[in-house]
Point group: C2
Chain length 542, copies 2
């Protein structure tokens, strides 16, 4: 071996054997985060936005570096180019998306998880993490389905069955539920070996129908669109039913859509209820949906990725009445269980359900083993369930109840702020902790009530420009943040308008901050370019 080769080899061993010194660049960053993560983020994330095109220049090399580089140099790069230009998702004024501050204990526990580097696909690479994950699934199952002790004693650690599947997020959770629903509908029967074996084409021939369909409201999460594509059902057969004025599925419209499917000889494979729509936070009438699903004999899934933890709240859990009648329920842990990104779950009422997608392999996932990989869409997976276990254990039911109650109260008071403010129009009032609104001064709202459809359209278009421009500038300024979306509203003849969307899940968000959000928006409207839209509106109205 040459001298260089030997040196390289020694350097290589060093990165696997010599810990970062506490006073090294990376050691100091690590220490700073351990000491006070909020402080670290506050100090290192640059508020003022650089354009994405500009940031891209720091990530433009497409070649893997030939030579190794020092950890210290790389850490400097991370600090200056990556951390500095990240989004401060934990900031109390960042009330636009579904990320929040995390409980402090999540960080050191995440490090333990990463250090252990278990692989949950198989007991041989996860041991205690396997029963721990199964326990987490049982706990969430109990939160939803409230079966008695003997039920859980029987199923919690029964390797041939599963109370749910742990996933990287809600999209995989929803896809898993609909995969199960599809495979149950197209199950083996007589000489037909089932869809898992024979595929969808032969399944439809066997069922003697022209297609399969999934029914959900217009407010359904985009993951359902991915799922129907993935599962071979096709987006044409994702039937998005109209909603009522409160963004809940219209059950009469659902009945109509169902009849239309029957006429076309298309079999509904699942009805999906939403417990907390992503855009407005509303909850479908789950009990009514369960009735309907039972009546027509259809699988019933509830997407409670956002709203599931509302079940912790004695005050608000009634909103989810009927969820225990669902065949399966999606809950995201990285949302209102306050776990870092990358943790979702789908729970199944019947411990036999997941058998519909069971799979085995010789070198892994042997029949009869306790390996979790045989019941999940994903293969190798990290031990993220540990962080859910930690949250449930440390925060407890009562702690989560407080978080949920606080969020809903905060949303209600934000709605009050908006309603009483002369410059804003509340678009959707919060049922959970999400609301939408837009800039629309009282004088204009008053006039709009008397405009015809065409004039309204013109005004709404200009208000859309304002919403888009304000949201963009507010984000770029980096002090506070709301997101935006587009909603169809009955009050504007079903026209689609742009709105600000606010999610009140961060316990550190205060009324003062929310007031500041509105003030900043008013200040942005006063900027020349935005004012020009106001001028145009005045021209139309006069």
């Amino acid at each position: 071996m040459t001298e260089t080769a030997l040196a390289n080899l020694q350097n290589l061993y060093r990165i696997f054997t010599v810990p970062e010194a506490p006073d090294s660049t990376l050691g100091s960053v690590d220490h700073a985060i351990s000491e006070n993560v909020a402080d670290f983020l506050q100090k290192h994330i640059v508020a003022l936005e650089r354009s994405l095109e500009d940031i891209e220049k720091d990530f433009s090399t497409s070649k893997i570096p030939e030579e190794p580089s020092f950890v210290s140099a790389y850490t400097e790069f991370v600090k200056q180019k990556l951390v500095a230009q990240s989004v401060h998702t934990a900031a109390p004024g960042f009330v636009g998306h579904m990320t929040s501050a995390l409980p402090y204990f999540m960080l050191p526990l995440s490090r333990i998880m990463t250090a252990l580097n278990q692989n949950l696909v198989k007991v041989e690479t996860s041991k205690a993490f396997t029963p721990m994950e199964r326990q987490v699934l049982a706990m969430l199952h109990h939160l939803i389905y409230r079966q008695d002790d003997s039920f859980y004693e029987q199923w919690i650690h029964d390797s041939q069955h599963a109370l749910g599947a742990f996933c990287s997020g809600g999209t995989i959770a929803n896809a898993t539920a609909l995969w199960v629903a599809r495979n149950q509908l197209c199950r083996p029967e007589g000489s037909f070996a089932g869809i898992a074996q024979e595929g969808l084409f032969k399944s439809l021939q066997h069922l003697n129908c022209n297609g399969l369909a999934i029914l959900a409201s217009q407010r359904a999460h985009y993951s359902l669109g991915k799922a129907v594509d993935l599962l071979g059902i096709g987006r044409d057969n994702l039937v998005l039913v109209d909603t009522d004025d409160d963004n809940r599925i219209d059950v009469d419209a659902l009945r109509e859509e169902y009849s239309k499917l029957c006429e076309k000889n298309i079999r509904p494979l699942a009805l999906v209820g939403i417990a907390g729509t992503t855009e407005t936070g509303h909850v479908d009438p789950l009990d009514e949906l369960a009735d309907f699903a039972a009546e027509v004999g259809c699988y019933f899934h509830v997407d409670a990725a956002w709203g599931g933890p509302t079940l912790f709240s004695r005050t608000h859990r009634h909103l989810l009445n009927g969820i225990n009648r669902a065949d399966s329920v999606t809950i995201d842990a990285h949302k209102q269980l306050y776990v870092p990104m990358g943790a979702g779950m789908v729970l199944f009422k019947d411990p036999h359900s997941l058998s519909a997608i069971e799979h085995h392999a010789n070198y892994i996932l042997r029949h009869g083993s306790k390996d979790l990989g045989s019941h999940t869409l994903e293969g190798s997976r990290p031990g993220k369930a540990m962080l859910v276990h930690a949250g449930l254990s440390i925060i407890g039911r009562k702690g989560y109840e407080l978080l949920i109650d606080l969020g809903i109260e905060k949303a209600l008071s934000f709605a009050d702020l908006i309603n009483t403010h002369p410059n804003f129009e509340l678009i959707t009032a919060p049922e959970l902790n999400i609301l939408t609104y837009r800039y629309n001064p009282a004088w204009l709202q008053e006039k709009m009530a008397r405009l015809d459809k065409e004039q309204l359209q013109q005004i709404n278009l200009l208000l859309d420009f304002i919403t888009q421009e304000v949201q963009k500038r507010q984000r770029e300024a980096g002090k506070t943040f709301v997101s935006r979306t587009r909603l169809r509203l009955a009050r504007y003849h079903g026209e689609q308008i742009s709105v600000f969307r606010s999610v009140l899940a961060n316990p550190l968000t205060t009324t003062e901050i929310l007031t500041a959000v509105l003030e900043e928006q008013c200040a942005i409207v006063k900027q020349t370019q935005v004012q020009s839209f106001i001028e145009k509106i005045k021209q139309i109205i006069v």
Copy 2:
């Protein structure tokens, strides 16, 4: 608010605002891991195995605790019940699965990633992480496809296109590739709107065929089975082609299977080559497969989840010749890129490919945005790409080359140890860094050469018992670990036998450790219960 309620609220705020004190239980654990993770794992993971049934007792409550609990108490639980009973996947003697020691810098960098808690689905919640992930995909794309600079300048940050998709692991990566392949074959044409829109049933009617099929070798990863189920193709149409004596797909057999499909009017939607089979580490003849795919006009995917990083090695990369002709390639970062669990990628030769599965939504993933979520199966995702970026930057091409070369050399010397040992039979020699073998003393091997098929079967059955028992006892003793699988072997008339499987990816594994693995296995064979199988073998042979 009552006094209790106020106290609860204050406690709740505390977990979001007050960092763990350095001298707290969790603070100390955190410090110990920062100081020296290897030492921490060594000290806290209990080597001797408790039975899973016993461990399950610590995770048997199905109710979410009503009351919050102290972080210190929970940390004690984690130390004693979870960490102690985990698997020491980083141990140099743990050579049975695809986990290894991690470079030290991965832990503090993981903490930065967790602290930032970015969500890669959308630029608004990830900013610099978006171009960073796109750069990582471009780097891996370049490693495989070696396009020129202008190619990457054009595509690296083009929001309407993608060089690949970052996933939670290889299973999702393979599913994504086959989803793309399926949707490309069933693309919109004339009045047919494509499978994403109309579904699989109408696609087959449109293509006028009886089914779709995927072709791969018998050694294909189980994720292909999941994918054909998920995508509606059916396991009957996953055609697993025979392999040659070196566990590579037999191209003549492939041609035959292809002809059979044509006769049945089933369209092959993809041919999958394997670059590093999970069980034996062999690489399919990729160039020949690319020829065949080109000849019959079929999508060509390569599952290089394990073997992809062999491309770093100037000595061994020739084994993967032809990989640059694949339409898509899966590479797992949590395998031979030495990144913590939960990171995989699929790269596409053509930046237009992922358009086949593109999707949009109003509140997120707007058309024309740079949001990554429109091109991935998953929705919300963590910034794991950062750790791949770190590995590529700090270790560099040359560092990874050393790791790959070391692993293959080590596998070759382990094979020598086995070959020269009087008690073992090498079953599959390593091509990359994986090999299989079993306990089978020289005297018995000699006799077996002269036995008839029936006698061989009896002996092999008993040897299987020995392999299974030794593997189990070795795992339980917790000193060293190999995995096991079952393989069909030509030398035993295609009979399936149990074998030990060893993966040599941990740079800290030494020849001394590998010698100890064999010694421990010999010692276990001497235990009474295992000896009884040897006695039975002797009875048959005599």
